[in-house]
């Protein structure tokens, strides 16, 4: 049968499968050049991994997604992950689909794949979405805890910056209470916080924040300059 493109392997394979000769059908399907016809049939024959491979080969993201959707409902999560994590295209698509929809799935995936930074980033995203301050800090702490037992320098930095974020939020909450009565500082970046403090004439507090977060001297001077100009304080 080799070298005769004219034959519709799809139809023959379907027939073979209907006759109960599944193995033969799969072999026949290997000759079918049109992935669009091949994949659904493979799924029907429960040749899941072959179906997935063929879908990836075709480059058609829709087919891949379709197979993935099918597999996700069918397989237990652990073996689903095992199927996809050897195939980068598949796991990338699963990640994309899950983002913003199914964060629990993402967390599981990253945990099983041992990708702590990815995992902590999911939590960081959740912290950004949370509406209440306590929830935000809690998520941030969870995120930094995920990273706590690693020695990799990037991870260490990431963890340090995460805890810095929750520290900053805490201080901003106090500032809001002391100086503003309403949320004026919460959520600002460090630079913006310092800028606003100077502009409103709280130079002391600004300086304290500078030293607390080890802000570079130059940055601080630029912020002061800009804030004082905005305030028209030429003294």
């Amino acid at each position: 049968l080799e070298g005769k493109p004219g034959i519709s392997f799809e139809l023959i394979a379907q027939a073979a499968y209907d006759e109960g000769r599944a193995h033969l059908a799969t072999q026949l399907l290997n000759h079918e050049p049109r992935a669009g016809k091949q994949v659904p049939l493979l799924l029907e024959m429960e040749e899941d991994e072959i179906a997935l491979d063929k879908a990836i080969e075709s480059g058609d993201a829709d087919l891949v997604n379709y197979v993935l959707l099918h597999l996700k409902t069918k397989l237990p999560l652990a073996s689903f992950f095992r199927t996809i994590n050897t195939r980068p295209v598949a796991s990338a698509l699963v990640e994309t689909t899950a983002r913003g929809q199914d964060t629990e799935l993402l967390k599981d995936l990253f945990y099983q794949d041992d990708r702590p930074i990815d995992g902590s980033n999911v939590l960081l995203s959740e912290a950004l979405e949370a509406t209440e301050l306590p929830r935000k800090t809690e998520k941030l702490q969870l995120a930094s805890r995920l990273l706590s037992d690693s020695k990799d320098p990037t991870v260490v930095l990431q963890q340090k910056l995460l805890s810095e974020a929750s520290q900053l939020l805490k201080i901003q909450e106090v500032l809001d209470k002391d100086l503003a009565d309403r949320s004026e500082f919460l959520g600002l970046s460090l630079n913006d916080t310092v800028y606003r403090l100077i502009r409103s004439g709280y130079g002391k507090r600004a300086q304290k924040m500078q030293s607390e977060f080890r802000m570079p001297e130059k940055t601080f001077w630029w912020l002061r300059l800009r804030a004082l100009v905005a305030k028209r304080d030429w003294g």
């Binding site: 004219g6 995203s125 630029w222």
Partner: protein, 661 residues
Amino acid sequence: MAPYPGSDADYFRDKARRDLLNLLEGVRGKKNLAVSQDLAGPVGLFVKFSLLQEYGVDRVFLLENGNVDSSQRNVVFLAHAEKIRQVRAVAEQIQRLQRNGNVEHELSIFWVPRRTLVSNSILEEAGIIGDVNIAELPLYFVPLEQDVLSLELEDAFSDLYLQKDPGSIFHSAKALMDIQQRHGYFPRIIGKGDHARRLADLLLRMRKELDAEESSGLAGLSARGLLPSASTESLIIIDRQVDFGSALLTQLTYEGLIDETVGIKNNQADVDTSIVGPTAVPQAQESSKAPQQSSKQGQKRKVQLDSSDQLFSQLRDANFAIVGDILNKVARRLETDYESRHSAKSTTELREFVNKLPAYQLEHQSLRVHTNLAEEIMRTTRSDIFRKILEVQQNNAAGSDATYYHEAVEELIARDVPLKTILRLLCLESCMSGGLRPRDLESFKRQIVQAYGHQHLLTFWALEKMELLQPRSSATTMLLPTTGGAQPGSKTNYAYLRKNLRLVVEEVSEKDPSDVAYVYSGFAPLSIRLVQCVLQKPYILSLIRGGPTTTSTPIPATVSSPGWLGFEDVVKSARGATFSIVQKGDDKAIRARQTISGNNTIKTVYVFFLGGITFTEIAALRFIAAQEAPRRKIVICTTGMINGDRMMEGAIEKGSFAKFE
């Protein structure tokens, strides 16, 4: 052959319009139309609202606003079926209409560009698949200009490089198949980059699938297989990730700078009315109150930017430095044109003048718009901060030690320059010199997070995933060595290519450019140089050898050395696969056709940019096209328009820690 033997642009525009209108006709009676945001602009490129009205469209809604109302019984949705989010949005809207409406709605969905299995199963889950009429609108290439075809996929860049979603490659392959079915197979597919390779593989695969379809007798329609085309020379595919560097630079052509400062989308720019004046009202109605009303601050006016405006087609590809001169010249000419009315004595002369008057007025208006726009851009380019940014960029591009400029970048951060700009500078350094020193990167990370918010930890992570900003120690920042074995995933070696492809051209004149380097005032985009390695071999050779650059002398068509021939070693130092595939067909048929048509026609070269192209690169390609005009026609294809800011936008985290309002 097809009714438009030459121009693909017209063909695709007509086809898209016809397809859409046919579908609309299929929905009887009046209807409301809900369009997804990223389709509204492209649709506007080939069909006007007035025409839609003729076809019974009453009101148009944006899908994302979620406010489709029940004023008409028929509701038509137009959305991308490959975007799962859009599919869900459509499903939600339909359910909402079915719940609230006191009218029994007649619902239709036109999926662009095709109906997908995933969209089916989402609609099925929502339980509405039985209640809607589903049709496909095969919309791929949208012509932006006669020589520019774009898929207008806004997210193609982040999809490809951040999400690693191959959807847009598939989409591109389908679109290129369209061209092949019209003209015949590309006799040769040349490309650079891993994604480009995948695209080429898909093209080969789809050809095979098509063959199978035909020979199995299932297709029926197209009776015989396609042949290698007689009217196209080749397809050149460039993967954006081969050359991230050029796209990160600030573009210095007029159109490029408009895109950098105002932003161009679907050939239109939203410009503040305080700059360009209120929307041009027909002369007769320009009463006293109109200008007062619309000159309010903050209002935007859409300015059409395409070659229908003669003045703009002169200006767009020029380096911004000489835009003032051109404007001045045009203004002077226009003045003498107006003056010529005094010399008109006889009635015939006068009538001639009056006949020309509308054209003058049109030109006058366009001159006013562009003068104001140019002035506004000038205000930006003269600023202290812009100069600092440009200085850092130029030094990076020229290859001097980037660490000298870290202090300047730190100052820019402290001065609260937009985050995109800062990240562009850092990514530029990372791309050009193979990553930042880990210590420097850490210190930048800390400063940026402190200056712009801790949510940007996510931004950095995204940039690292896109391999735009990395520490030097990581495996994927390795530059391609000129000797020894290369690791997979190694990066473009700008240091080597800068010398061997003459990326830096100091003496380029902006007024009368002799090299594509004029678009960045001295830096030639690597992507374009690669295209030149295929199309203009003798020129590149003369550049490298440093001999007299005799650009203008016509060089006989280099039929003898196609593909990358002669430049294999140089090209190897750019990232990703290098390939040149010949598509063969039935020999006898080709020879037969050759004897019929002769062999001296001007053939078309398609240059496809996968992952986006910048306006500067288009300008540079047009510059080449003008030189090659006697031998070739160059058609530019791309997944969409890109610039550095848009690249960054894909990565920048938008959430913040501020309280939810």
